[in-house]
């Protein structure tokens, strides 16, 4: 019952929002409040739906099979993530979304997108899955429209990828339906277990490729940065945190449940050289290359969107090992990333709200003006960089351990290389935003209101709590792993049980707090300190004042730029994809030439058509 209500709610929300649209300009509060209430109700229903895990509900018959939805442990977990982040985002927009006139259908499309995502994760057959996938893709496209001008152009880029993904998936759906004779997951699983190799390979590829595109896995990641970065900032947070992960959800669902790991592992020549190896390599590339591209971004949002790609690589790394530790890490990283990226982008939004820019070359020194936003970003980047005690570390620990012990040393190395890049770029992010010299023009900047602070505080709490007590998350992960056909992780509240490795975040955090206290004691043993103006600085005897910019934020990592200049400026894959686009346009232009505009040519086509048709028919018996 709650399951259906859960799916119906956002749809109702969509319709009501369209009706309420007229009020958007005059009194945006109505729309905002409505959206928040509806999403809170949705989250409540999602929680209530917990006892219904395992039940399946059928809907209308389409093409001789009925659409069906239902919750599994995996989908409930995703539902909760979606519901949680949606509530937080819509709460954040209460304060953050100033001009609803510029984003006329912000909430409408958000509702539709939530509908698509919920439907996707709850779908229990291939057809429902595809329908919801398409609804989600289109809604995402429309959501992206609600942003800056250049964002709409970028959204069109997303659309190309999304449609390609959708059409490949459609091909896959048709192929699987044709081969297995059913849309039902159970039937497909049974069929794939003993399907011919060729059919299995084609099915798997046709289905996985769209997921990899949607998950922005290298080399199909090019659509993401521009499309996300130019959306409205709260939407950037939303898209980065959960939207991209729908591709991974599809991957988890199909690799582990629908096709089954056994069937997937038939594709390959040995235990270490199979489809999963390819996924691992792609994941490693995804983790490394975009992360290092992030280094050279000078827009805070754009920098983070590159991390959205890179961190997706970590998730895929964990999942593709298909081991207990790895999948636990991958699944957990989805949650962790969602929390801390939302936190970081909310903080950025808070800065943007006051300063009107996200340009890293123009910001600086805001720590004294917006301490809450700073703290939010600090928690977030510690999580993103994967440094204890925030939650990002725990999932990375799982992933590393699974990679090292699973015998993928170079993949593990790639993951670490990506971590180094992450640390570098997040430091640049926080340094250029909050540290360094405060430009004179931001002297009057104030902290944002409580309405916008609250989601930041909540997320800070979540990032820290789940970092110290990963067991809170791992208990669900373990359940999901059972459903995926994997030995569940032996978890404890602070980490994992001894047989799974040495990790107890509670102890690590406790020791850290104690040693931090030691540090504080040493600090306070020293003499009294005096806080000085930012112009009271060492400058080799030169005088500093507000007219002299005394800051280092432009070209922050010059050595890397020096070494990799060429690689960044003409990334081969991006060039190839651009050329593909150019090629299609060229082909289109040539095909168009078919219609010459001259009647004689047309008449010639006519006669030729008759002759060729005669010839063809003569040949066909």
């Amino acid at each position: 019952m709650y399951t259906q209500a859960l799916l119906a709610l956002p749809l109702v929300g969509f319709v009501v929002t369209i009706v309420l649209q007229g009020t958007a300009r005059r009194s945006p509060a109505i729309l905002k409040t409505w959206a928040l209430l509806a999403f809170v109700a949705m989250a409540a229903v999602a929680t209530l739906a917990f006892p219904e895990i395992g039940d399946t509900y059928t809907g209308p018959m389409v093409f001789g099979s009925s659409l069906s939805i239902g919750l599994t442990d995996l989908s409930w977990w995703f539902v909760m993530m979606i519901a949680g982040i949606t509530v937080l985002t819509s709460f954040f927009t209460l304060g953050a979304l100033r001009d609803t006139g510029t984003y006329p259908m912000y909430y409408g499309w958000l509702f539709l997108k939530v509908f698509g995502m919920l439907g996707l994760v709850m779908s229990r057959d291939l057809l429902t899955f595809f329908i919801m996938w398409e609804i989600m893709s289109w809604a995402t496209y429309f959501v992206m429209q609600q942003g800056k001008e250049e964002g709409r152009e970028a959204a069109l880029g997303y659309l190309v990828y999304a449609i390609v993904a959708g059409m490949v998936l459609l091909g896959g759906v048709l192929f699987i339906h044709q081969s297995a004779g059913s849309f039902e997951f159970a039937v497909i699983t049974a069929y794939m277990a003993k399907a011919e190799f060729g059919i299995l390979l084609a099915s798997v590829l046709l289905v996985l490729v769209p997921f990899l595109i949607e998950a922005a896995v290298y080399p199909a990641h090019g659509w993401l940065p521009s499309a996300y970065a130019s959306s409205e900032t709260s939407m950037t947070a939303y898209l980065s945190s959960i939207s991209t992960r729908m591709g991974l959800f599809g991957l988890i669902l199909f690799v582990f449940s629908v096709f089954g790991l056994k069937a997937i592992d038939r594709i390959g020549i040995s235990a270490h050289l199979n489809l999963r190896t390819i996924l691992l390599v792609l994941a490693a590339l995804t983790a490394v290359l975009p992360t290092y591209t992030a280094l050279f971004q000078h827009d805070a949002k754009r920098l983070l969107t590159w991390h959205s790609i890179g961190q997706g690589g970590y998730m895929l790394l964990g999942l593709a090992t298909a081991s207990t530790l790895g999948t636990a890490g991958g699944l957990m990283h989805i949650f962790n990333y969602m929390t801390y990226v939302a936190l970081i982008i909310f903080s950025i939004a808070a800065v943007e709200y006051r300063t009107g820019t996200t340009n890293l070359n123009k910001l600086g020194g805001l720590i004294v003006k917006q301490p809450v936003a700073f703290l939010g970003m600090l928690f977030g980047i510690i999580g993103l960089a994967g440094i204890p005690p925030m939650n990002g570390f725990v999932s990375k620990w799982f992933i590393y351990r699974s990679l090292i012990l699973g015998g993928y040393p170079f993949i593990a190395l790639a993951a670490f290389i990506a971590t180094v890049g992450t640390i570098m770029s997040v430091y640049k992010l926080i340094h250029n935003t909050f540290l360094g010299q405060l430009p004179e023009r931001y002297n009057d900047v104030k902290e944002v209101g409580l309405l916008m602070q609250l989601p930041i505080w909540i997320l800070m709490g979540v990032v820290f709590t789940t970092g110290v007590f990963p067991g809170l998350i791992l208990q669900w992960i373990a359940k999901i792993q059972v459903g995926m056909g994997i030995v569940p992780i032996a978890w404890t509240l602070g980490g994992v049980a001894r047989e799974a490795g040495d990790l107890n975040m509670m102890v690590v955090t406790a020791v850290f707090m104690a040693t931090f206290a030691v540090g504080a004691i040493i600090f306070f043993i020293g003499g009294k300190r005096r806080i000085v103006s930012q112009y009271d600085n060492y400058a080799a005897g030169h005088f500093l004042n507000k007219d002299v910019p005394y800051n280092f934020n432009y070209n922050f990592y010059s050595a890397f730029d020096h070494i990799f200049e060429k690689l960044y400026h003409d990334a081969p894959v991006q060039t190839a994809i651009r050329n593909l686009g150019r090629f299609v346009r060229m082909v289109a232009d040539y095909v168009r030439r078919f219609f010459t505009g001259q009647i004689n040519t047309y008449a010639a086509y006519y006669v030729a058509a008759v002759i060729i048709a005669l010839a063809i028919l003569k040949e066909i018996p």
Partner: protein, 478 residues
Amino acid sequence: MVSPMLFIIAPLAAAFLMIFINRRGAALALSLLTPAGLAILGVSWLPATLVRAQPIVVASIKAPLGIPLSLDALGAGMAILVAVSSVLIVLYSSSYIHRGHHEVRYYAVVMILLTSAFGLVLTRDIFNLFVFFEILCISSYILVSWEQSGAALEASFKYMVLGSIGSTFLLVSIALAYKAAGSLAMADIAVAFDSAPRGYVIMAAVTFLFGVGVEAAIFPVNSWLPDAHSSAPSSISAILSGFVIELALVVTFRVLNTVFAAVDVLPLLQIIAIAGVLVGEFSAFGQKDLKRMLAYSSISQIGIMLFALSLGSTAGAQAGLSHLLMHAGAKSALFLIAGYFILRTGSRLIDDYTGLGYRMPVSAALFGLAALSLVGAPPLFGFFTKFQILAAAAATGGGLAWFGIASILSGTVLEAVYLFRVIRVLFAQPAERSRVEMDLPALVSVALFTALVVFGALLLPSLSSMIGPIADGLATLH
């Protein structure tokens, strides 16, 4: 029940009547009421035809001397589609077409076009088919050249030359058929062809295919279409793209499939269809002229329908006809809205519509919905029809079918991109915010077309009980 013969007589009479009265009001009333009445007539006949085709006897002369006519489920279905579409389009025209002394003639010609359209689905006589075909062509020529601009005249002329070549081939085909059968009734010809030499039947089939096919805009005799559909008044583009080419397609396919059944033309049709899909989508991709883009899209959509029909399976035929219904709604809506875009900006170029979506939000939204359906986004009607087609093709299997699926899928990618580039321009930075929404009659008309493609999926269950007998009309001649 009233005789289905009214389908042919009523619009013809209405046309002459309005020329005599020569008043705008009367012309509008007649051209709204006639198809409306015919739509009701069609609906009232539909249940009977679903059970069994209803032969129509004209002046008590039976075949072979008389002209055989028959109303089967397919005919009734197509007639309803044509009638309803034309009611809506006439409604749209009432605010769209320039008021002036030519206006009455416009409606009269539309009525004559309707006559021929109904005639084409009713007739069971191959020469009678030729006559209706010619009427259809001539009225289309006139309507295409309605605006008398250079482009309209040029388009009309090209259309006319190709149409004339088509009629030449059609007559060759008729001659061959008559020689073989000694009769013009399709049923007799079909029997005669069964025992005729294969080469002979092939010759007749191919000349017929490209003879009538020119009106159905099958590849490669579709080169008139982008010109004609883009230069005609938008209401006429909607008629031409909305039901004329579909109707011609159904007629072509039905006759080929029943009368010329002795040769298997389906593989040839599949090749033609796939080529049409690819050429249409690629040509539309780089278009800057909105209506021309939509016209190219029609080429590819016709290809998709033909592909579905030529799969040769019941599922394919049903899917193709569903898609036809969807396309009629979606493409009419798109052309009609495009008409007002042109009216409001004075330009056909997409780039000139920058920010127009803020000034015509409802129109732009409807445009988006129709485009979404055309692309096949669930849960709109277009998704289900396209999916059915692809599923039917997958069920057929074989290299050609899978190649067709791949072509349709990649065509869809292109289609989504070019259609949504338009949406993107419509909602680019707003220049001004003053509302210039469509006039009410036009808005109602477009909204109803769009409602079809939005809620069409809800029709599917009720449609599924009817679609069987309707699709049966493609395979057997009643």
